[in-house]
Symmetry: C3
Subunit: 350 residues, 3 copies
């Protein structure tokens, strides 16, 4: 199922200017260093700019600024990555599926399945669940009671959507995703933890993508909410009562504690940890492994953590940090000796 397009066709599809031979036939995509004469590639990351002059690609999507160094046909775009995404989608494998319910799927009699939906082997769809038009449930998905799967959503495989949770349209859930498990709600009663019933659900907007084995817990009272256009990577934990604002992205292994609100157009780096009951304003970027314990006041990039260094040096760094109190005392003593300033000046909080 290999598609072929001329460069003229690709430029027209993407709405960008072609500089070069319009009739070159392109059959797929490649990397800047690996693409051959019938493949198209792109340049966005400065790390790879040095590879441009030697590329053997049939064409490169790049900015007008980079076009001067391009040894082959060029598609000029102010946003080469988005242009590449549009072109690459033409070469993506056509999905092999068709409407209908596999005979091994177990569908509750009062579930409502649109005739245009496709439900693969070993799925379970429980009572009163709704599966809208064009939905694809891959193998071994579990859809709980009264859950709602919006039109043209795709649950790839082994996905669980628990009771009452609702997905918007065109939601993409990768294998192992769990939507709507109980939030971690516990009350301590004389040393024994008792369960606080988790009575909310999860509501997910349109055009949301959630990565493999990521978990989004149901709310304790109100719902956990993922707004339109949010993209979440693999192995991310979103705790109960969180709200993730529209068009925010969250990279792999991040964890967001309960009742935290994340604004729109935020970017949460891989492995970042965000405490509970915080509010992250619109437009905040957290770099990888950042630890957020207080709500940032405004948009911007926030970071924490010490980058790795050779182990012996790291041991010294830790020791030096542990010595800071004595260092402060020593500096105060020097100041006192030099300036006749008393070392125990109570106004000095150093």
């Amino acid at each position: 199922m290999k598609a072929t397009y001329t460069l003229a066709e690709l430029a027209q599809h993407a709405g960008v200017e072609l500089r070069g031979a319009a009739d070159v036939a392109i059959t797929g995509v490649g990397t800047l260093s690996g693409a051959g004469p019938s493949q198209i590639t792109f340049l966005t990351n400065r790390r790879y700019a040095a590879q441009l002059p030697a590329t053997r690609a049939g064409a490169v999507v790049l900015t007008p600024l980079d076009a001067a160094s391009c040894p082959t046909n060029a598609l000029l775009s102010d946003n080469p990555h988005a242009t590449y995404a549009r072109i690459a989608s033409l070469f993506a494998e056509v999905a092999h599926w068709s409407p209908g319910i596999h005979p091994t799927a177990v569908i509750a009699p009062d579930a409502r399945i649109d005739p245009s939906a496709s439900i693969a082997a070993h799925c379970t769809v429980e009572s009163e669940a709704v599966v809208e038009a064009g939905v694809r449930l891959g193998p071994s998905c579990v859809i709980g009671r009264r859950a709602h799967i919006g039109d043209h959503s795709h649950l790839v495989a082994q996905v669980t959507v628990s009771e009452g949770c609702a997905l918007g349209a065109r939601v993409l859930l990768h294998p192992g995703v769990v939507i709507g498990a109980d939030g971690f709600g516990l009350a301590n009663d004389n040393g024994v933890w008792i369960k606080v019933p988790q009575l909310g659900t999860v509501r997910i907007g349109n055009d949301v993508e959630i990565g493999a084995n990521t978990t989004v817990d149901r709310g304790a009272i109100d719902d956990t909410v993922i707004e339109d256009g949010v993209k979440i990577d693999n192995l991310v934990q979103v705790a109960h009562n969180c709200r993730i604002g529209a068009h925010t992205v969250i990279a792999g292994c991040a964890g967001i504690a309960g009742s935290t609100l994340i604004g729109r157009h935020c970017a949460v780096g891989g492995g970042a940890g965000i405490g509970g009951h915080l509010s992250i304003p619109d437009g905040v970027t957290l770099t990888g492994m950042a630890m957020v314990t207080k709500s940032p006041r405004e948009a911007g990039v926030y970071s924490s953590g010490l980058p790795a260094e050779p182990n012996a040096q790291w041991h010294r760094t830790v020791a030096h940090i542990r010595q800071l109190p004595s260092l402060l005392r020593r500096v105060k003593a020097l100041e006192a000796a030099l300036q006749n300033k008393p070392a125990d000046d109570p106004a000095d909080n150093g």
Copy 2:
């Protein structure tokens, strides 16, 4: 299936004092800011105390101390969270299930399934496994050979319990949980890693709850043990040969390396990492993302990590920390100049 209770009935059920109108009908729960006149709510977190005077709730569960500011009916409790948990459980959806084995489930002939257990579609129960009274296996669970599922346990969906592992009574495992995968046991033989057989199992006590996609590995020789009343959140890793003491809670994304013992009544914060072969005393709390490399000596709260700050400031913080060695040298030189103390004093470990 909506329940309705009067405030008098709720107060009696929870064993607390009602201050207000006994006959108000309550049909559900709500948040302090969102609850209406037929809903009950609670106040425990000081962050939300300012919302109390404006609440429209039919009643609030709170401490006697907070009752003065309560504009509506009040249920007085020394532990409002636990009282709320008991009341909210009355409004939780009645589970829709009944005993029996779904025709698509595959049960080994020599597995023993109590007639009161419920086994949903697409489950697999292997040879010699035991499923006790009142157990619910949700869709697509896998129970390995000779595994034991204690009475009234509930495996929500897509759960795997591997060969020989044993669960106590009333254990709740959320979707995607994996109990008893092989521990990460490897021996290096001239640069090649060879597998060390993992011959232990996992033993889980009573009243344990484990969150979605969390993994608990089987022991290498002895068993990995989770004691009674332990509560574990989503995406947590418990490595082989760990023992988690009774009534300890572990928040999401935490990781516990092999052979570490965690005491009773501990609290492990989200994203915390605990090294291998350590011993955490009873009553230790680790705050979020804490990195534990040595065994704490006593109960208490332990923390690590630098909270996020604006990125430019973070770069300066990292640079300043890298400069600590030269700063120490400069302070020594100042001390030497001022006090005639030799800068290379070997007794000075700064």
Copy 3:
């Protein structure tokens, strides 16, 4: 199915010297402190050396150096851990399986399944997939279109291998593993994230083991590659376009961002985070929770992060670090006062 071996047989099987009674019968393994007279144990970790004199084990695998303190029969090995692994494998449960396809498994007509393979209940094998000789698919595995499962691989349960991904021989995938979900490829188009098609696959070498609920994403253009002998623990994220060099080990909860190359014979500690587009040389060890933001130049051990300390002390540590800029200014002022060196010396970057 309990096996029994004499010490002479075990020594011969492992190719090591026996010091002691050749005809002692051994029926299993135990820990140094827990093993009885019919069990064999081992000593490798110095933490446990103090337990050696009191062991009741029938025999201990240890180095010639430790043999002097051994109160029982000894198997002498320069690598006791590897020797123990070989001996313990004799006592591992014989797997209970046989070739054939369970009647509930759904196999595409044009999938190719070797007659010696075993496919358990509720598996799905899609069109044109290939399952080689001796493969075991445990319950509820999903094998995507044109995926290739190499000979004698074992997918324990609930594993997903997506379209086009290829596993080598003797690959062991634990429950919940997801191979080949889409990489996290997004292009920002005026604030809205659009999906960049992920057109590569995942290629996994021989003798690779991957832990429960770990995820390995497919490449964006080229493939994500896991080389021979790599061992990955639970809940690890390997992003698109990574290459993990042969015989590298990755402990639980680690995350590796996109397009990063990890060399051969590396060891990545638990919870470590490695940024994208980096290159980790052969022979690098990262300790637990290390944060890697730049490519290390050479083999060695790298670390980061501050170990946990009592919470009050931690607050002081954070405050002291925040005071470093003022401390640097104070030291400069002291230097200026003492040496007549101007405090604002532009050559001084402190």
